[in-house]
């Protein structure tokens, strides 16, 4: 089996890339492990997936679907922005809060084979993300295990020299995984980490708060909790 990461980075080390520049000029990329894809793309394997799907920055949430059986879908079935806030990111760009969206965004899905994911998928996907030249990356997970794989991806992307932040509904998993930046909306749950379906205002606020962790004082390894409701 391959090494856990290309650099063999210890879990005790937290990769950290400072955010430089301004949020209102930054191109932001979304990456999720919650099994989101375009309806026209091949379905993810529900129990073990090491591949990924590319989601164009022009896609709307209505064009997306979700393949995952490990978290409650009641919210995300109604509104994909609960785990993949592509419409909310576009709204932030329209409001001038961020510079824009990258051309491509990325999604993968459930696997319990964390070592293979870290060694293969995370490294490969981090390189694809880097090719988009984003100034910032926002990550989300679906179920508990997907928060571990999101953390592996986040660490790999950060090691490419790209600042990242994750929005987590599983703060224990995220903290154990030692990521550079993380926001946990108190009371959020797998399947609606950004807030309930249809609450665009709240989802936008959570997303912007996560992005603003990039410009605040460094707190690597810490999960920042915020109360919204």
């Amino acid at each position: 089996m391959p090494e856990a990461t290309a650099l063999g980075l210890s879990r005790l080390c937290i990769p950290f890339t400072p955010f430089r520049g301004r949020l209102d000029e930054a191109a932001v990329c979304l990456v999720t492990t919650a099994g989101v894809r375009l309806r026209t793309q091949p379905a993810f394997h529900a129990e073990h997936e090491l591949g990924h799907r590319v989601i164009p920055g022009t896609a709307t949430s209505a064009e997306l679907t979700v393949d995952d059986t490990h978290y409650d879908h009641s919210c995300v079935d109604e509104d994909r922005n609960c785990v993949f806030p592509i419409d909310r990111l576009r709204a932030l760009a329209a409001a001038g809060k961020i510079g824009g969206l990258t051309e491509r965004h990325f999604a993968t899905a459930f696997t319990a084979q964390l070592r293979d994911f870290a060694a293969l998928t995370a490294i490969r996907l981090a390189q694809e993300v880097a090719a988009e030249r984003p100034q910032a990356v926002v990550l989300t997970g679906g179920c508990r295990m997907c928060h571990r794989t999101a953390a592996a991806l986040q660490r790999a992307i950060e090691m490419q020299g790209i600042p990242t932040v994750t929005i987590t509904a599983e703060p224990d998993e995220t903290e154990q995984s030692r990521v550079p930046r993380a926001l946990c909306p108190r009371g959020s749950a797998p399947g609606h980490v950004l807030g309930p379906a249809g609450n665009a205002e709240l989802q936008g606020r959570v997303l912007l708060d996560a992005l603003e962790l990039l410009t605040g004082p460094p707190r690597p390894g810490e999960v920042v909790f915020r109360q919204y409701l």
């Binding site: 090494e3 856990a4 063999g8 210890s10 879990r11 005790l12 073990h48 696997t111 319990a112 084979q113 964390l114 070592r115 293979d116 870290a118 508990r144 295990m145 571990r148 592996a152 224990d172 998993e173 154990q176 995984s177």
Partner: protein, 167 residues
């Protein structure tokens, strides 16, 4: 024979012995079942004895794969990971297989039910183990104990720090 009340097991105490049926050395990889004894590691390796409540449950299904993901951390510290629960060997093997397999064995403290788990002071009233980690040094002494809330994982950084102290 353990002289202290079981709930008083603490660093410095002799770790209670065990000789239990287990999956193969790599759980879930189709190796035949075997036995694992504490004495197998005395003078050779420190041991991370990770008690978990039950196979096929959510927190355990994140905890054990996370140890597999980070197995290099344990290997470089010369430590042997051992998972242990009151499940059957066959249950543990099937569960590990469903998670892609592990590079360490899972021990079955199924019969006499929870005997070893009780000696470590972490047998719950419902017959399952607490979520608890004991680091045992090469001389067989307990170097670290952590009993977690049932839905929370033991802190990996503390486990690694304990291994660094006994290396």
């Amino acid at each position: 024979m353990l002289k202290l009340p079981i709930w008083k097991l603490q660093p410095g105490n002799e770790a209670p012995g065990f000789d239990l049926p287990a999956t193969g050395g790599g759980a879930g990889k189709g190796e035949g079942p075997g036995r694992v004894r504490r004495e197998d590691y005395r003078g050779k390796k420190s041991v991370v004895l990770a008690f978990y409540p039950a196979a096929f449950t959510p927190t355990c299904s994140a905890q054990l794969p996370s140890y597999e993901e980070d197995r290099t951390e344990f290997e470089r510290r010369g430590a042997q990971l051992l998972g242990i629960s009151t499940d059957y060997v066959a249950s543990n093997e099937a569960w590990a297989k469903s998670l892609g397999g592990f590079s360490f064995p899972l021990l079955s403290d199924h019969w006499p039910h929870g005997h070893v788990t009780a000696q470590y002071g972490v047998l719950r009233g419902d017959g399952r183990a607490e979520r608890a980690v004991f680091v045992i040094d090469r001389e067989g002494k307990i170097a670290y104990v952590h009993v977690s809330e049932i839905g929370k994982q033991p802190p990996l950084d503390e486990i690694l720090a304990a291994l660094d102290r006994v290396r």
